[in-house]
Symmetry: C2
Subunit: 229 residues, 2 copies
Amino acid sequence: MGKSYRQFCALARALDHLGDRWTLLIVRELLIGPCRYSDLRAALPGVATNLLADRLRQLETDGLVVRRELPPPAASIVYELTPLGAALDEAVYALVRWGAIWMVAGRDGETFEPRWLVVALRAFAGPVPADTRGTVDVLVEGVRIRVVVGGGAVDVALAEVPGGADAVVAGDAETVLSVAAGLLSFGGAQRQGRLRVTGNRGVARAVVDIFGLGPSPVNRVGGPPAVGE
Amino acid sequence: MGKSYRQFCALARALDHLGDRWTLLIVRELLIGPCRYSDLRAALPGVATNLLADRLRQLETDGLVVRRELPPPAASIVYELTPLGAALDEAVYALVRWGAIWMVAGRDGETFEPRWLVVALRAFAGPVPADTRGTVDVLVEGVRIRVVVGGGAVDVALAEVPGGADAVVAGDAETVLSVAAGLLSFGGAQRQGRLRVTGNRGVARAVVDIFGLGPSPVNRVGGPPAVGE
DNA sequence: CTGCATCCGCTTCGATACTG
DNA sequence: CAGTATCGAAGCGGATGCAG
């Protein structure tokens, strides 16, 4: 695998475990939820299968990931994060907030999985007022992401089944991302017809207001340099 | 350079710019302060000089770094971060907090630069009480790091000249790191003779208390997996 | 079908040497 | 001081094979 930087530095040590190609993207997938080998292959187009196997082995010996065999009827293997691996959440979210600067370029020819918005929404969630409560489903390309707010915390995850949400917000990925990052207002997105809201609009507004608040790099720095600059 | 992941995902986009070997370590050096080419080579043992040149070129065209020629007497070139590059601070600090878990292993055969503690101290700085004020110099292996606290903010930087600090804390890198990360108490470190404090001890205590507070991964998860586990 | 291992052409990395 | 040039070794991406 990748060579160690051999530096007594926490950043270098972190990169000794995460710096290899594909590793952090595997962690991203597992932050969304446990995955089978083939789930990972599908979500990571372009990864060589031996490389994926290598990375998973490395992550396992490093203690970031565990292999778990599902009970008999399924008879499959899932990979999931250990507490050590899950502790990467804040680092991933910080990278997502910075990387969002580069999302203005559009997605010509790139692959996209709506599930990735789970990570993006978590990344842009700000402090939660103690009295805000509610469940909002975000619907993008048929994938349902459930945002549950309550007790001063927010939980974002894939929703297995519809129903039970106070409101549903539907739109395309760019719009959802822009609103989450605070680059586009919730009201403005609705007025432009880019978001459709059904159910309890008060709850929807309150939950959406949790996002796009903090001084994330997207708001501080603006866009990437123009071409030719 | 590294191939793009071709994913419409902020993490993948970030890694498209930062994922190449050495890139984030170059950013780390520049977060400490502007560097000349030879400074970078010295701080990054093992980097091939053509690779360093490649990375700097890439960082420049990506808008994270600018080349600046120093005025005549010096007649040299320094690299420094643009606002876009400097916006990586939070991502780097988050990675440092996670990577600190792996710092228990000791530094056998690894290189170490005391200046790196500038980044570590920033990474572990917690919220600053509005009424805390003071300047503390941290002395490690002859390198002086100045921690200035006031107005609810903390600034950590290399100190060019001695003097002007309310207190001076001297010790080795492991001890300073442990105290900053909240794994070792300030008082305990002094009692064990691992830290020596001179000057105003009240200010020293107040400033040190800013560190090691937040629920960083080191405190939540503990150490890395034992060997053979 | 899932979960890998093997082989191969190509790119990238690391080390050294050399130049304005 | 600030890079460029070169070359062997390692890593990557893609295709294929194969056992459970």
